[in-house]
Every structure is written in structure tokens, then in C-alpha cells.
Symmetry: C2
Subunit: 334 residues, 2 copies
């Protein structure tokens, strides 16, 4: 799906050029089927491929310098490519990206950001699984990186940002979240509009442009939403197949169902963006199809075009580290 | 909605009797509208009502001994009631329940368990928000308590149990989850069938009868799923209203849509169950209606009828505390 996906992205972004990295025995014969892609691409043979079940440490050992994954990332480092897109092993891709590109000055830890379809449009959610846990400083970094991504992708000058928290009164949220909230509130010179805490229900509502959380709960939220969408899709399919009348109704409302399916199409928002590195790396879902892969390519293109990295740098320059002592003030939970 | 809900529950569980606690000026005149309920109820006037915005500490200070919430919990403690149902302030209800009923022997911390509709039926998910964070021992306790609840509610002798984790290779899950997994695997005499790690997508699939996680991610998962369901419902409504044909199709397939709505009806699974206390307390959603409140009452009734507390006690008796040193073995991530 990589080659047809890459060709598909050319339709909407005709000035893309590609550097393809892979096994020549596999890729070169296939490439002839995509003449338009071939025309704008160079191909580089690599002897090693990172396997989907390689552990990150294994992949680094086996694949450093010579794997297709490494060399695609290295092309970004060397300024030969603006963005690296891979549908390979997530853990290996993150480990190699960190090793090769290093984190941006002032950023301790990269995050993976996803685009979440909402009732109001789309939001950025991060971290969706780069690392488990985050302290207050890291959450603030995520807010700035997510804010920069929202500015690069959506047409907003000061994206709204919320910290994901839980609203049960007794447990007013993790200390780290409270401190991060205070720091964000104090840094009103940043290009983001901090809105306070948000809850799980707010993600789908689109209450804020950027939802910030640590990687464990972010990944759980993402996967749970995927599961729920699939479950409701199943319910709907079963209900529409139960009676003749329902089937007839389905046929009549066909265009409405197509529209719904399009709204819920996970391929449209394919692509986890690695933020906080000196270069942009995008992880496409491994099980996607050409349409999904094209989305990941276009996402990368748009972020490069809109100067994502420069935008993150701007906010980093304006940022005053907050007081990280005990947070005594109470912050509202919505 | 409490009084009509309580009366509604009587239809399906005709041997319920109620003790009602509240402000006589409010409740007594209303009670005359529900003669069937009045017949099986005693009413006790309480001078204090816990407010929805009281902090737990405030509620305890103002409401201990004399509030309707406290006295309803106390009735369980004194053996005058089998279960306490409240649609009030969650934090206050948990604080008072802990204070009045105390945790069961061997259980360090209570959890709130919810019933989650899945593609295969229903699952128990806990903790959905009693406390943030949990160590390995607490996760094991949650597994046992959730397992006992599944045995009390579903027709299974050894419910399947999974620990919620994230599947990204690089971050093979929290240490606490790994250790809890090992302990559960070693305790094969428990009345539960430990299936390993599950991911967010598995909740809606119904991969296991009991999904165990700590309260922060559990609450985020629950609220995110609610948000996603609402979002898709909105999409569907909008799509079906767009064209005449879609509207006509909707009318024809009306029964199918009603069925879908019923499947997704949050009122059917209303009720967060406080587990791990010497007594059963159920929190009904504050914004529900009589049908939802009746569900919470019936849930409590069924758990008492099926001896939930004795079932938790049985597993506690068979449980060998696991080795809590560093977990070195690798556990599979599904």
C-alpha cells in the first residue's frame, strides 16, 4: 500500500518528491506499476528491513545505518528529506528517530500526536503512546508541541488547549496535571489559549483544539474510541439487516450511510506524528490501505509546508519554566 | 427521578422493600404519587442534604451521622438495608462509604466498577474513577473484586479477566501491571481466568468479562467511549436528516434505529458499584431518569441476591500474595 498510497498523495500535492528506501528485489519491479510516482522518486536499496516484531533495541542493533527505516530517518537529519513516513514497527521507528534526530533543544521527551475527528472538526491529541507517564514539565512541552501542530494544520492563530483529567471530586487529578495547568496559565505569551482541564467526553465534542495527556491514558483513550466506533458500526449493520423494511430503509438512505462511513473513516486521520525531535517523522498505521497511507503523506506535507518545527521553536523561546513546587491552588475541573 | 425509578424497579423485582432518607418537606408530599412504592417503603427525615458541589471533606464534616446520604449508608452497615443507592455527589458518597463501612479485610482500597456494553454482551470495568493510580497488589484486588461482580451478575463460573495495557512495543506497560499479571497467573486457584493484557479496543469487543485498570485511565476510557457514542449518534442524526430519501429511509428502518438506540442506551447500564467495602453502595448517574435509576436499583438487588460480598470473600481466602520483586519475565501484549 506504500507505493499506490504515495502515488495517490501526488494527486493532491503534485510538488511532492520521494526518496524511497527498501529492498530492491521487492520494490523495483513494483515501482514500474506506478509511473507517475517513479518519475518523482529516487530509490535506494537497503540490505536490512526492520521486522514488525523486532524489539526497539534489536532493531537499533540490527538496523542502525543500514536498514531502510534508519536511512529514511537519516535523510531527514541530513536535510535531504523534509519528512519521513513509515508504516513499520512503531517502537523501532521511535527508538531510531530519537537516536538519529535527537530531541529539540529544551524538549526532554518526544510524544506521538494523533488527529482526532470531533463534532466540531478535528483536534490534536497527544501523547498517544510514546511513553508511559509524564511530569508537569513534559505535559507543558506536549501542550506547546500540540499547539504548534494545531497551528500548522488548522487555521487558528492561538489554538485552545486542555489538559485531560478526571472529574470525580475526591480525586482532583494528578499533581503533575495541576502543576502543568498552573504553568500554562502563567505563560500567557505562548501561542496557545489554555482552557483548563477537560474530560474524556470533551475529546469527541471538540471542546479544545489540543488535548494533552501522558502516553498511557492517551493510548487507552484512542483505542477505546476506536473500539467504540467499531462496536456501534457493528450494531448499526446488524440492525439494518434484521428486517426487510430496515433493508429497504438502508437502501433509500444509502447516501446518508455513505456519508456517515466517510465521517468515521479511520483512514482520513491516519498518521501518528512524532513531535519534539529535530525533524518530522510520521507513523502510518501498518494495516491501512493506499488511501490511508496517502493521508499520512499529506499530513507530513502540510506540516512541513506550514513550518511545524519553526512554530514549536517559537513557543519554546517564549516559554518561562513555571514554579514546580507544590501546587496549592485549586484548579477547576470541568 | 428517584421515587418513580424506585417504583419502576418494583415491577421487575417485586420483593424489594425500601428505606427512603431525605427531607420530609420535599419527599413526603411526592411519595403520595407513588402508592405502590409507598406501600413497601419507610421514610426517615434527615436534616442535612449533601450538596452536589460539596467537597468530600466538607460533606463528611456537615453530613456525618445526620445527612440522608450518611444514614442510607449506615443502614447498610447496621444490616437494616442490603444495599445503598444514591444519585448524589460521587466524591462525598465514596468518602462517607469508606468512613462508615470500611474496606473489607485484605482489601486496601475500594474501586468503582461499571458495566460496559460490548459486542458480546456486557463486561465489568474497574476502577472507573475511585482513585488515581494503583500498585500491583491493588490491581490484583480489583481483578478479584471485578471477577466476583461478574460471577454475581453474569452466568459464568470463572470470568475471564484482562489487565488494560498499551500495546506499543517500546513501552511494554507499567511495572505494576506486569507484576499484577504475574501474580494473577500464579494464583490459578482463584475463581477467575486470567487472560493477560488487553488494549482499549478490547473493551468494546468484549474480549474479557472483566477489564482491570487504575482509576485515571479507567475514567478516561469510560468518558471517551461515552463521548464517541454521542458523537456517532450526532453524525447519524445529521446524515439521516440531510435528504428526503434519507428521511424516508429512516422512517422505514425506524424499528432498526429504535433497536440501535436501545443497544446504546446509557440508562440500561447506569450504576457505578463501590467494591471492596463491607457493604454494597451504588452510585446512580445524577442526570439519569426513572428508567436509569431503576437500573441502578436492580443492579444492586441482583448483586445482593447473588451474594457479591461472599464471592469476593471466597477469592480473598484463596489468594496467595505474589512475589512483588522486579518482574523480569516478559508478558505478552495482545
Amino acid at each position: 500500500m506504500v507505493l499506490p498510497g504515495a502515488e495517490l498523495a501526488l494527486v493532491r500535492r503534485p510538488d511532492i518528491t520521494y526518496q524511497l528506501f527498501g529492498d530492491e528485489a521487492v520494490v523495483e519491479p513494483m515501482l514500474d506499476n506506478y509511473p507517475r510516482l517513479k518519475e518523482v522518486s529516487t530509490f535506494q536499496h537497503c540490505e536490512v528491513s526492520v521486522r514488525m516484531d523486532d524489539k526497539p533495541s534489536q532493531a537499533l542493533r540490527r538496523g542502525r545505518r543500514k536498514s531502510s527505516m534508519w536511512r529514511a530517518i537519516e535523510a531527514v537529519k541530513n536535510g535531504e528529506a523534509d519528512v519521513c513516513i513509515s508504516a513499520g514497527n512503531t517502537g523501532a521507528l521511535m527508538a531510531m528517530s530519537k537516536f538519529c534526530l535527537r530531541t529539540m533543544p529544551g524538549i526532554e521527551r518526544p510524544a506521538i500526536a494523533g488527529i482526532w475527528p470531533t463534532m466540531r472538526g478535528e483536534s490534536v491529541v497527544l501523547d498517544i503512546g510514546a511513553t508511559i507517564g509524564a511530569d508537569a514539565e513534559q505535559l507543558v512541552d506536549f501542550a506547546m508541541m500540540g499547539g504548534a501542530m494545531a497551528r500548522a494544520l488548522f487555521d487558528v492563530a492561538r489554538p485552545t488547549v486542555g489538559l485531560l483529567n478526571i472529574g470525580v471530586e475526591e480525586v482532583k487529578g494528578l499533581e503533575a496535571i495541576r502543576v502543568a495547568g498552573r504553568t500554562l496559565r502563567e505563560n500567557d505569551s505562548l501561542s496557545l489559549d489554555y482552557k483548563g482541564f477537560v474530560e474524556g467526553t470533551d475529546i469527541g465534542k471538540g471542546t479544545v483544539d489540543v488535548v494533552v495527556t501522558e502516553g498511557f491514558s492517551g493510548n487507552i483513550a484512542l483505542k477505546t474510541a476506536e473500539g467504540t466506533a467499531r462496536q456501534i458500526g457493528e450494531y448499526l449493520r446488524a440492525a439494518m439487516n434484521r428486517t426487510i423494511l430496515a433493508k429497504l430503509g438502508y437502501l433509500l438512505a444509502r447516501s446518508a450511510f455513505d456519508r456517515l462511513r466517510e465521517k468515521m473513516d479511520p483512514r482520513k486521520v491516519n498518521g501518528g506524528v512524532f513531535l519534539g525531535l529535530n525533524g518530522i517523522v510520521i507513523k502510518s498505521h501498518g494495516g491501512t490501505d493506499p488511501i490511508g497511507f496517502a493521508s499520512a503523506v499529506e499530513l507530513g506535507y502540510d506540516m512541513v509546508r506550514n513550518e511545524l518545527l519553526a512554530k514549536i521553536g517559537q513557543d519554546m523561546a517564549h516559554y518561562r519554566r513555571g514554579g514546580l513546587g507544590a501546587a496549592t491552588e485549586e484548579e477547576e475541573v470541568r
